[in-house]
Amino acid sequence: MSTPVLSVRDLVVEIPTRKGLLKPVDGVSFDIAAGEILGVVGESGAGKSMTGNAVIGLLDRPARIAAGEVRLLGDPIQNLKGEALRRQRGKRMGMIFQDPLTSLNPLLTVGEQLTETIREHLDVSKSEALNRAIAALEEVGIPAARQRIDSYPHEFSGGMRQRVVIALALCAEPELVIADEPTTALDVSVQAQIIALLKRLCRERGVAVMLVTHDMGVIAEAADRIAVMYAGRMAELGPVRDVITKPHHPYTAGLMASTPVASRGQKRLRQIPGAMPRLDALPDGCAFHPRCEKATDKCRAEPGPTLAADEGRAACWYPLTQTKEATA
């Protein structure tokens, strides 16, 4: 197997606070291959956005990578600083945010932002950069790109703006794109357009995509593999169809079962009791055990097995076997 584009091993992110050390990301490992979309799902505070930010070097102080490795095509990039980080980010890694309006500079035209990014990372002339910018806008499906390149971000609609953000993330031809809730702020019809665009670009360019979202439907349609996070740890990791139809971790099973789709025709939805614990009040043992029907003394005492990037499916002492359906 060739080197994965992104390889994360035992990543730990810490936030020192007065109340103690919080670990919003705790021992997370995964790989993303070229042309692959890894969907990262989880509830608020599960650590999915924090993982993406740690990979691309956008952690807000005082959060910091305390342990583990992040490799981009074999080169370690964790804890890069200043110039070195800037060169990697943009050139080799692009980022797509939830809100397209705040991730574009309102005072520069779309063309200025694109050519600036291209010239920063690629050694091309001004006119060549402009041509590439127009090509990038055409590629993400902006009609009349040559005319619209001198428009300001506010002159685009929400969906078109998100396309510009995608063009901006991709214009320096990065190897990895991190998309953090890229469709959450968009309407259903536009969301479908953006998902289709992401999938097409990923396939055509062989970019590795880390798609962070809370929307299981988006993941099911877009992702090749899925990573389920819970309370900062990887709960389950596997091919998207397997994880959604035959989850191994009781949390994943509960999550899938509690969607209205899974309970179609039933009067009540299945529900997981309780809520995800706050990071400053994590229970001993497996973080999911207070909400888990199958929890034993072992679950209450020991944290679940740590999930490696390439083997195993669920970080659970008693994974649901293949024969059982999602009925936990």
């Binding site: 509830e43 608020s44 309407d187 479908a192 289709a196 099911a220």
Partner: protein, 321 residues
């Protein structure tokens, strides 16, 4: 079952003009945004009526008009046969409105951070001079929290718990109708199911009627008895749940059903829908959907289709059958 709410030709136009001085200097005309245009529907007692639509469809504005937060520009709102829209400040209307409460989308913004939960829940009763002794405790227990939570502040609760507090507040005055504006879209999936189940249980126990406003089709399909689909302020289709989901008649309804991401659609390659929602200040002529509609004909751009009955469905499309 009898009709509890009747909405007739409801229209709301917002003035989105620039300030007077700018208009004079820049010679701009007044800008009008028609958020809701000539919408009529009826909600039966003890049922769930859902309004679905994308942003700018006017679904929240309709909810606000029914709760009295926004006065209608034209049209009538009747509750139990009593008109509450023509003289919204009358004592009569205020009395009817006491039966209508609302649950909001953002459980973080809908509770005053400076107030204790006890006072938040009792507010609708206290304002109208009712007795509030033990009320907060009773309501908290009804929504699955503990009576001891009454003396805490909102920030001590999680998103799902806050939404339960919102529900407790909405129920405190013993209303008949609850307008739910995207009540679970800010919540995580596992918490969403808890809140939806609670809402279903309460409806049965207390005989409530819900106007359920949402953009999430899976949630609407689970909750609603009857569904109205809105596009650019116009009701384009209305049908009982099963009829709508098995046989959507309006091209717009068909489009959002196709476009919505599905959990069983692994690696689905769909042709994504074309275009985006047009600017509501300058809406298209004729049928508002015609510029994006795959089956539009000349007539669609000239003549606005009226709602007509096809079986149990009402649909506003010249071509639907």
């Amino acid at each position: 079952m009898s009709t509890l709410i009747r909405v007739e030709a409801l229209t709301r136009i917002f003035d989105v003009s620039k300030p007077w001085l700018n208009r004079v200097l820049e010679r701009l005309p007044k800008a009008k945004l028609t958020a809701v245009s000539d919408v009529s529907f009826e909600i039966e007692e003890n049922s769930v009526y859902a309004l679905v639509g994308e942003s700018g469809s006017g679904k929240s504005t309709i909810g606000k008009m029914i709760t009295g937060l926004v006065p209608p520009t034209k049209g009538r709102i009747e509750v139990n046969g009593k008109d509450i829209s023509s003289d919204p400040d009358s004592a009569e209307a205020a009395k009817v409105r006491a039966d209508i409460q609302m649950i909001f989308q953002d459980p973080y913004a809908s509770l005053n951070p400076r107030w204790k939960v006890r006072n938040i829940i009792a507010e609708p009763v206290a304002v109208r001079g009712g007795k509030t002794g033990g009320l907060a405790e009773r309501m908290l227990e009804q929504v699955g929290l503990s009576g001891a939570d009454a003396d805490k502040y909102p920030h001590e609760f999680s998103g799902g718990q806050r939404q339960r507090i919102c529900i407790a507040r909405a129920l405190a005055s013993g209303p008949k109708i609850i307008v739910c504006d995207e009540p679970t879209s800010a919540l995580d999936v596992s918490v969403q199911s808890q809140v939806l189940n609670l809402m279903s249980d309460l409806r049965e126990e207390l005989g409530l009627t819900y106007l359920f406003i949402s953009h999430d089709l899976t949630v609407v399909q689970h909750m609603a008895d009857k569904i109205g689909v809105l596009y650019l302020g116009t009701l384009v289709e209305e049908a009982p749940r099963d009829a709508l989901f098995s046989d959507p008649k309006h091209p717009y309804t068909q489009m959002i059903f196709d476009a919505a991401p599905r959990m069983d659609a692994f690696g689905r390659e769909v042709d994504p829908p074309k275009g985006e929602i047009p600017d509501a200040i300058n809406p298209p002529t004729g049928c508002p959907y015609h510029p994006r509609c795959p089956i539009a004909v000349d007539r669609c751009s000239q003549e606005k289709p009226l709602l007509r009955h096809i079986g149990d469905t009402r649909v506003a499309c010249h071509l639907a059958e």
